[in-house]
Amino acid sequence: MNKLDISVPILGPEDANDDDNLSNYFVLFGDFQDLNKKSRFAVVGAKGTGKSAIKKHLSTTRKSSKLPVIEFDESLGFSLSALKTQSPAEIKNKMKGYLKTIILQYIVASSDLTKGQKNKVEKLLGDTPLYQRLLQGATIKAGIIDYALSGLFPKNKRGQLARLLDPGVNGLIMDLLGDKDLWVFIDDIDTIFTSDDNNASLKFVEGLIYAVSDLSVRELKKKVWIVLLLRSEIYEELTRLATEMDKETAYFWEVAWDDESLKKCLSERVRWVIGAEERLPDWKYWAVLFDTKNKASTVDLQSYLLERLMNGPRDLILLTELARRVAYAGKAQRIAIRDLEESEYEYGKAKLRQINSNFQRIYPDIDKVIDRLFRRKKQVYSREELETEINKDLLTNPTARQDFSHLSWVRMSTPFLFVDILYRAGIVGYFAPSEHRYIYVLQRSNPDKTLLKSTRYKIHSALSAYLELEAVQTKKKSTAKTKKK
């Protein structure tokens, strides 16, 4: 097998949007097949869990097969104040109208319509301002946005919106698509549809989900499949505040990664970089990049590395890249476990910052709170111990409360709720006896409901070096006894 040159980054960019080679090593995982079969329309996950990679892979595959696809970007966005409403029901209708406008514009601009089809468009929309814009074609994207802002959203233009919401337009879209189906991807919602007001953004996302559900599932009968890629912290806020959201959750894929998929994620990248044709067992590709002697030592290194991943592929790339730099500086040919160990402090620091940036909207300054609560303490607790620690050292500690007096989420929390927050942020995991391991949000988005007070919780190993946590005591005594026997 070819050797790897570790003087340059090996696993590709951390952000899938910057990765032009992604389709060469994309790994199918979780509910991907359900999404592909149109049983899911919303992909929910923290930053770095692979949402953009899913979008990019599906979109690239469709484009290479010349199948219709729309990717929303800033050019199709607007400020939420333009919607002139904060009612989710009204947002739903306006966004349905807007999405139909974009879909119609895309179809008219990208396909050669037959005369019959052109007549149908004219018959249904000929007397609307939209028709004129559609005739201008794809080159005038701004014209369509302008139409939406001035002709669709204002309160005195309800007639225009009603025309677009008419079931006849659904029939027209399906007819124009013929035997093809159209996929629409909306990622980075808060950078496309902007607002300074968190509350307004949340109501918008709620309305958008209802609009997408109505259009994709019911009205356009899955001929158009609109996929929303949502960050988990936004989804978390929505489930707390949006009362009707539970009806839609069957269509949600909460991204979770198992160890096998993560191992494959790295081995596929290495396989592609070294240009290997054959499909060897995963560990063999790992051994090309990592300094291991045999299968057993590679498996040990895999466990060590995977235990330190909080969000999935992006963490895998980040930690490996940090260790690669250390290994290269030491003039090594491959990355050794000591290089990973040496990178852990920096990695843990980066992870805590990332958690803070991910959860800034709902749990601001969570990094400072975590640091205060856990630095130089134990890594493993029983649930009861953990709740007591939270109660004593944070919620009822006058100094801590004074220092965090600006954080209403801390003030309103309870020990029980705080453990839940820690789990959802990926900071702690619980021990599942049936699986003999700790489960984190990366593996299971919702924790087991039957957790006991004696259930063991562990602070994620990604943070153990940075927070200087007390190492977990291994059961050396029992091993010694077993040996004696």
């Binding site: 505040l241 006058p398 409360r401 007096s405």
Partner: protein, 187 residues
Amino acid sequence: MQRTSTYSKIREVLNAASLHKGNVAKLADSIKGNSDAFVYFKRDRDGVVKEHPCNEASIRRKIRFCIRLGLLDSEENCTLTGEGKNAQMKGRFDLQLQTAVNSFLEKNAVPMSKIESAINKLVLPHTSALFQYLKPAISEDLFRTCLFLLSECGEEEGQNILKSFEKKLYLTDAKIRRARKAMEKSL
């Protein structure tokens, strides 16, 4: 803070329990007549308002509330729990009571997040309106007591979760901010 308020009564129950071993009745017995909080005022026949000790039943009610809050162990063993002991530590009573009430509401299906969104939604978020809107699994009286405690605990340091307005309406920081913004706009 009124010395006969629920807040003061809970404080006295915990003080008494820290020196006590026994059940609810024994603890109530030890409090009766020895407390500044468990008293009521009544005008006697001679027209003078005098202080009288509360009866044991009302003391027992407050002790049972402390048990439900997780500050005392049980009916049979009215000693302080870990949380109760924590409340007795310097500067922690308000924060521990606040956390205990918060946890109690959470266990009864009205976590603060729900109360907060109800306050922000209702035009006049007084106790009865909140009770009717949230339909918690506790009595309205108990719900009222919880809201009162959440507005009192930590008030001096600005650490209270709810801000009471004229002692009848409950507001959150978010609601106050929005009201201020609306006022500024209208000016």
